[in-house]
């Protein structure tokens, strides 16, 4: 294992993350100094101090190991990816910690950000685009910190898309070949320039969508520029951090809801398809099996939840109760279904009192998640599809053991390794989810708020990178009341889910660390 090389890349990454943080710090300073934003008095300081520390630390690590070269091998890449999120969340959480200690100095207020575990949870939730928060009063934060929270979503999302669509398939990472952008073949400039090109195109797509989304949200007239920016950063990465306590319901606007539904839908699609579109291959993108299954699944569940909600009052996340007119029921079922399926986790309605049947469907969708190659969580639609096909063929093998039918997804044939990989992934995600729920429940013994549904849905919501869950972590609740140990466990679950488990799990196998 070439540790120096990993350190060098990680140092660079941390310095870059801190550099972006310093820009938010500068904006905060301007707001405070020139626009009289008193709330920013401690925030700009916290952001700039944390950014300087990060740039210094990251820069030093980079300097000390800059002589490292050689090729970044598979194990080095995995370690780098895992550390990027695990260490990145430390760096991204420092400004919260500094701000709370400066701002409430000498007062009796016990702000969640006084605790290391809370800061780590919040920044991990940001970088993994989960959107679970430990804050009960989000609006009390200075705007610069709200912007930084949303920015961690956007950066984490960009990292994941580039990683899963451009980097891993080109490295031939196991099971990722299905999700590759194009057929492999000798490319004149070798692998590396190819990865860079793809990554660059993806960055432009992401930036383009960001610009369009900001303009669209601003044009509704219900969001100011700041809210438009923050919600855009959050929605395109299927994150879920809002600037309001009541999440998107605070804007009380059909137009905002519709735009955000569309943006969530878009963000849950495989970005490889957008890449294909930039190459002019629109019809290939539209014919994608996973995309169609994803849309179908969504519309079916929206319809079922809509029917199931008839005649029930709906409580919004603002606390207001509205009559369930057909329009209102459709709006709320569509928003909630899309938000939970894509793992965004924005809320407009409190779905906890909804009928059992609807909640089961929603939890099922949380587990399934959006498309591979997006920032949605869960097992991904493609693995569900492969899993069902494998099940059907196993059933047939029970009475026709010698029939061999190639398993197809669209026009590609899924090889046996990928079949096994997809099914194992579903099992492992589920096992970890249950293990997480059990550990949280054990850690919270004596805490009456933590019933089994709460622990189970908290574990599911974090490992599937959704955000809200049921009961104690429902749409109108938050994760602040858990103990520190539970928060650290859930932070690990978020990282596990985000990096599709194996990048983190391999760190626990002895063979990973042995040999060169």
């Amino acid at each position: 294992m070439n540790y120096r090389l990993v350190a060098k890349q990680l140092g660079l990454l941390i310095a870059m993350l801190s550099g972006l943080m310093s820009l938010v710090g500068a904006w905060s300073f301007v707001q405070w100094k020139f626009f009289g934003a008193a709330a920013e008095r401690h925030a700009w300081w916290a952001l700039v101090a944390a950014a300087l520390g990060g740039m210094l630390g990251g820069g030093l690590v980079w300097l000390r190991s800059r002589s490292a070269h050689a090729h970044l091998g598979r194990r080095e890449s995995l370690l780098l990816v895992a550390l990027s999120w695990l260490v990145g969340a430390v760096v991204a959480g420092v400004p919260y910690f500094i701000w709370a200690h400066l701002h409430f100095q000498g007062s009796d207020v016990a702000h969640p950000f006084h605790r290391v575990a809370d800061c780590y949870f919040e920044s991990m939730s940001g970088l993994t685009t989960t959107g679970a928060t430990i804050l009960s009063d989000i609006e009390a934060l200075p705007r610069s910190l709200l912007l930084w929270r949303a920015l961690t979503h956007w950066l984490g999302g960009l990292g994941i898309i580039v990683l899963f669509v451009a980097v891993l398939p080109s490295l031939g990472a196991s099971g990722k070949r299905l999700f590759r952008v194009e057929a492999p073949g000798p490319s004149p400039g070798g692998v590396r320039p190819h990865i860079r090109d793809t990554a660059q195109t993806l960055l432009w797509i992401y930036l383009g969508l960001t610009a369009v989304a900001i303009v669209a949200l601003r044009l509704t007239g219900k969001m100011d520029l700041f809210d438009s920016v923050c919600h855009t950063l959050s929605v395109l990465s299927t994150g879920g951090f809002s600037t309001r306590n009541a999440s998107v319901a605070a804007f009380d606007s059909v137009a905002v809801d519709i735009i955000i539904i569309v943006l969530m839908l878009v963000a849950g699609v495989n970005f490889a398809l957008f890449y294909q579109m930039t190459q002019g291959r629109f019809s290939a993108a539209w014919k994608d099996t996973e995309l169609r299954a994803y849309l179908l699944l969504k519309f079916v569940v929206i319809a079922l939840v809509f029917v199931n909600m008839q005649g029930q009052d709906i409580t919004l996340t603002t606390g207001e109760t509205v009559d369930a007119s057909a329009g209102q029921a459709l709006r709320q079922s569509a928003f909630t279904t899309v938000a939970l399926h894509t793992g965004t986790g924005f809320c407009t309605a409190d779905y906890d009192p909804w009928p059992f049947y609807s909640r089961v469907l929603l939890v099922g969708l949380m587990f399934i998640g959006g498309c591979a190659g997006s920032t949605a969580g869960g097992i991904k639609v493609i693995r569900l599809w492969i899993g069902l096909k494998v099940l059907m063929s196993e059933l047939e093998r029970a009475f026709r053991p010698n029939v061999v039918r190639p398993l197809r997804v669209g026009t590609s044939i899924v090889d046996p390794d990928m079949k096994l990989g997809a099914v194992v992934y579903v099992v492992v995600l589920f096992m970890l989810l249950v293990l997480g729920a059990v550990i949280v429940q054990l850690l919270e013994i004596g805490n009456e708020r933590c019933d089994f549904q709460t622990a189970f849905s908290a574990s599911m919501s974090t490992i599937c990178n959704v955000g809200p869950g049921l009961h104690g972590v429902g749409a109108r609740e938050n994760y602040g009341w858990f103990g520190d140990a539970s928060k650290m466990v859930m932070s690990l679950l978020m990282a596990l889910g985000r990096l599709e488990i194996f990048a983190i799990l391999v760190l626990f196998t002895p063979r990973f660390w042995r040999g060169n």
Copy 2:
């Protein structure tokens, strides 16, 4: 599909089952007529009438289709196996129904056996060796019906052992090759005589164990011959029906508990190993990987539960509360762990108030179950073992995609098909378990006794053929309070779990019914 051939075999099977029932009826008649057992007055009639009906019906079906010959193909075998349990449970449940309607004629008593769903549930629970009961007062049944209940366990267990150890491996059924008794090879008399020999040896082993168990239990002096017989029939098939309301705790005897623990342990072992022993291959049997993993798993969990129970009072299923001395804690933790892991479901202690941690371990063991080739439920230890090995190799593939290591269990190599089969089985069992829990919860909306833990553990306990669950279906509760629809769903779950899912699930695939 050769329906006539299936009908012929099924008719024969039903006639045989009814024949055995008539023997119990005869015993009942003798008890009533010559030993003054007044309780048998309606029971012997019910048993004999049902037996005559079954022999007549089965015989007629056999007669009408007796000209059918030709080879019993794979699809015919699957259909026959599925129908044997689905229809067999109807036949075995008829005496309960007749007895209740005769015995409570003209009275206001609403006995559970007045309802078809309850009778079907009870007899399915018997034939699938689950041991879940809908009776709250077991001791109120006539002894002949108690004997018949226990006998359904024993017959169902024998059927499963012969099926999974002798028949399926010899047919080369997918995924069953690992569990085969010996290496395949040309046998002089073809496949059929070989199956018959193996089945006969298994029958002798089963009968031998039965005789030893009856004698051992009788020698304790705490059980009379009747109880010894009934509990032996129940324990060797990992069933769980007792003759007492308080299950095994009613005998209040350390000796009985120890003998039953040993018998449960034996019954959870792959019967192919006993077969090997009859061929003189003791050391091969002892070196079996699954056997060792099974024993290790059990002892580890007993130790953990034992430690976890320290200092807590223990409530027995008799309702009595005892101080948790070390001896008492060891006795109860060992009995409960072995009973739930092997899917027997006998109870001495009410484990529902035990610490959360212990209950999680016990539920985990219920899901895992005993060894393949036994009548234990769950996914079976061997599949857990293969699943963990597959997981480890998938982890290694994340950083060494080109390493190929054959996956070994003992000295055999697991081929890719069997790996996929094992993992798919775990997923499907779990999916069905969750689906079952959701359906039961939906069916029981408005029924306050059915909380989520109850529905979930009832679904798990039935599909894993255990018997008791948690909360509303805990050690001191029963399944009688569920609605009819829930009972039918749980009956299906028992059949699904018993026949390792695929034999039942294939019936729902259109391809199964197409073609010849």
